[in-house]
Structure formats: structure tokens, C-alpha cells
């Protein structure tokens, strides 16, 4: 009931395809069972081909979004280049572990393509920064149980971008319909080596 990570609701999912990745989230922001907004995006870009998804307590999502925007900007100034997905993942991990005994109540996921090799990379974290490297998919948020079920049954390796979009969309849509705290719209990013496509999905509005 007063679990901080499930007050506001929301979820995110990322998948690896053939030379591409997809990352998606729902748009709901609520207070317990009362829905407040249907435009609360939980996926943020860091450079051209790297994305960070943040689910959990909405205030911490906003705080961390700004914190990582700051760190990303400082990184770009120092290194004179974009951050790689692996590097961002380790930065997220060490930033969260800094708050080991008073953590941000979030479930971050990172997805992206390497800037030069275009090698897909996805990973997830717990709230204190332990990295979960995955070859296939990563789920996070209040509908994570449902997302695991959908991903385990729908996912197959080496999907082309269009098929990956269909798979991740169906996985997300059907998962959030079985979670009272998620839904109210969804956003999907499909990332290939020379293009990023953002699609806003129409979903059930109840």
C-alpha cells in the first residue's frame, strides 16, 4: 500500500532484435488507484542511439532523469563524444549504489546501439544499481510480472525492426491491460543504426 515503487504505477520494457533494439513504456501517472495523467513518459534519450527507461516513484523518476541529463552533458563536454550504452549502464549503476542506504525507488533499464559497431545492448537494474545484463529482453515496473509472461511467450531472437515493434507493442499492451496501475497510453522507440522511430500507441483508456 505504501510501497514507494508502486504508488504512481507504470512500467517499461526493452528488447533486442537483429541489429536493432526497442524500448517502450506506458504513459500513466497515478496516485494509488486514482489516475492523474496520461502523458507521463518514462523513456529518455541520451545521445542518438542510447535510451534510459525509469519506472517507479514518479518524483525519483524526474529527479534521476535530470541527474543523468546533467551527468550526460558533463560527460559530452569532457570526452567530446556521445556516451556508449555500456558506459551509461555503469554510470547508472554507480550513481544508484551511491545511495545504497537511502535509495531512489526506481527500476531503470538501459537500451541502445554502440555508436560505432551498432552492437545492440540492453540491461536492467534493481533500485540500488545491481545490473541485470540480458541477451533478449528486460522488463521493469508495476506490470513486470505480466511483462515477463508476455515477453517469455512472444519474444524470438533476431527479429527485424518492424517485427520487433509488433512484438514489443503486443507484449506491453497485453501486460498493462492486466495491471491496474499501468496503461493509459504507451510509447515505443525502435532504434536501428541510422534511424530512431518513436510511435505513440492507442490503448484501452480504463
Amino acid at each position: 500500500m505504501s510501497d514507494p515503487s508502486s504508488i504512481n504505477g507504470g512500467c517499461a520494457v526493452a528488447m533486442v532484435g537483429k541489429d536493432c533494439i526497442a524500448i517502450a513504456c506506458d504513459l500513466r501517472l497515478g496516485n494509488q488507484s486514482l489516475s492523474l495523467a496520461n502523458n507521463f513518459e518514462k523513456v529518455f534519450p541520451f545521445g542518438d542511439k542510447t535510451f534510459l527507461g525509469l519506472t517507479g516513484l514518479a518524483s525519483d523518476v524526474l529527479t534521476l532523469k535530470e541527474d543523468f541529463r546533467l551527468k550526460h552533458n558533463l560527460y559530452k563536454l569532457r570526452e567530446e563524444r556521445e556516451i556508449e550504452p555500456e558506459t551509461l549502464a555503469n554510470l547508472v549503476s554507480s550513481s544508484l549504489y551511491e545511495r545504497r542506504f537511502g535509495p531512489y525507488f526506481v527500476g531503470p533499464i538501459v537500451a541502445g546501439l554502440h555508436s560505432k559497431t551498432n552492437k545492440p545492448f540492453i540491461c536492467g537494474f534493481d533500485l540500488i544499481g545491481c545490473i541485470d545484463f540480458a541477451k533478449d529482453f528486460i522488463v521493469s515496473g508495476t506490470a513486470s510480472d505480466q511483462l515477463y509472461g508476455m515477453c517469455e511467450s512472444l519474444y524470438e531472437p533476431d527479429l527485424e525492426p518492424e517485427d520487433l515493434f509488433e512484438t514489443i507493442s503486443q507484449a506491453l499492451l497485453n501486460a498493462v491491460d492486466r495491471d491496474a496501475l499501468s496503461g493509459w497510453g504507451a510509447v515505443v522507440y525502435i532504434v536501428t543504426k541510422d534511424k530512431v522511430v518513436k510511435r505513440v500507441l492507442r490503448t484501452r483508456q480504463d
Binding site: 570526452e79 558506459t87 554507480s94
Partner: protein, 185 residues
């Protein structure tokens, strides 16, 4: 060796150099590896060293570092080998080839004549030894001279097998290896 891909040498006061090596190795971890889980690129490493040396020129109660540094290394992101010089003032310069110390001027004049972009590894060792010979009065032997090469990853220096880790690129030549090259001069 500061990181597996970066090494440095000096001209000036030995004890000051050892302090800087300790500082650099620690900074490489606290300011970089413990955050990003990867070693700093050489430019960042040089900037950290320059920061330490600059700070010592303005801090109360301490004197500046009595050394000039040559920092060499491999940069993964640009896939290139780089060489920097850092002075006690904290200013630093990128070079293709340079020398520091008492006979730096004549050594640099020599390098200007002998160095070019497409020298192979053995050729640059040869040129470096010639430059050193020109400006050293005593005898050059493998025992009173150090050479480090930074080139391909040295898998055998890793100390273990069976991971996807690459070996260090910094390799110190042994006294015999140096003597072989001195004999060929």
C-alpha cells in the same frame, strides 16, 4: 604503467615522479573506473595529471612538481596511439615525437629530421635510441636504460586465460631485448 593502455616517464626529480604515478593510478580509479567501469582515455588521464601539477603551483605550503612528463597511450574510441608532454606549470601538449630534459632541444632537432608518419615499431625504437645516444655522454646499456612499447594487446601479460578481456598494451622491454637493439645501432 598507469593503466593497461597508458604509461608515462619523466625527466627531473625521481621522487616527485613516483608521487605523480601514485596519484595518477588512484585518480584513474576514483574519478573514472569506479564510475564507468572502464579505464580513462589518455587525454582524460593527462588532464587529471595536469590538474594535480597546476594545483601544486598555487597551493600554499608546497612547491611545484620538479618534473616534466611524457605520457603515451592507446585511445580505444579513436583507435589511435597518442603522446603527451606535461610540464610543471600544468600545461600539456600533444606530440608525434618529442623529448624532454637537459638535451631536449638537440634531441628534438634530431627527431625532426628522422621521424615520419609511417615508421614501424622497430624503426621508432631505432630512432629513439639514436636520439638518446646523440645526447648521452655515458655508455648506453640495457641496464641503464628503459624502453616501453605501447602497441598490440599483450595477452600473455594478462596472467589468466578464458575471459574476453584484452591484455595490456604497455610492455617493458627486458635488458636483453634492449641490448639486442643497441648492438644493431
Amino acid at each position: 604503467m598507469l593503466t593497461p593502455d597508458i604509461a608515462m616517464t619523466y625527466s627531473g626529480m625521481g621522487p616527485d615522479f613516483r608521487v605523480l604515478v601514485d596519484r595518477a593510478r588512484k585518480l584513474a580509479h576514483t574519478n573514472y573506473k569506479r564510475i564507468y567501469n572502464e579505464y580513462p582515455p589518455i587525454r582524460i588521464m593527462v588532464q587529471e595529471l595536469a590538474k594535480v601539477m597546476q594545483a601544486s603551483t598555487q597551493s600554499g605550503g608546497i612547491r611545484p612538481f620538479g618534473v616534466s612528463l611524457l605520457v603515451g597511450g592507446y585511445d580505444e574510441h579513436s583507435d589511435s596511439f597518442q603522446l603527451y608532454q606535461v610540464d610543471p606549470s600544468g600545461s600539456y601538449f600533444p606530440w608525434k615525437a618529442t623529448a624532454i630534459g637537459k638535451t631536449a632541444v638537440s634531441a628534438k632537432t634530431f627527431l625532426e629530421k628522422r621521424w615520419n608518419e609511417d615508421l614501424e615499431l622497430e624503426d621508432v625504437i631505432h630512432v629513439a635510441l639514436l636520439a638518446l645516444k646523440e645526447s648521452v655522454d655515458g655508455e648506453l646499456t640495457g641496464e641503464n636504460l628503459d624502453i616501453s612499447v605501447i602497441s598490440e594487446p599483450q595477452e600473455h601479460l594478462l596472467g589468466f586465460k578464458g575471459t574476453d578481456m584484452t591484455g595490456p598494451r604497455v610492455k617493458k622491454l627486458s635488458a636483453e631485448e634492449i641490448n639486442d637493439r643497441l648492438d644493431a645501432l
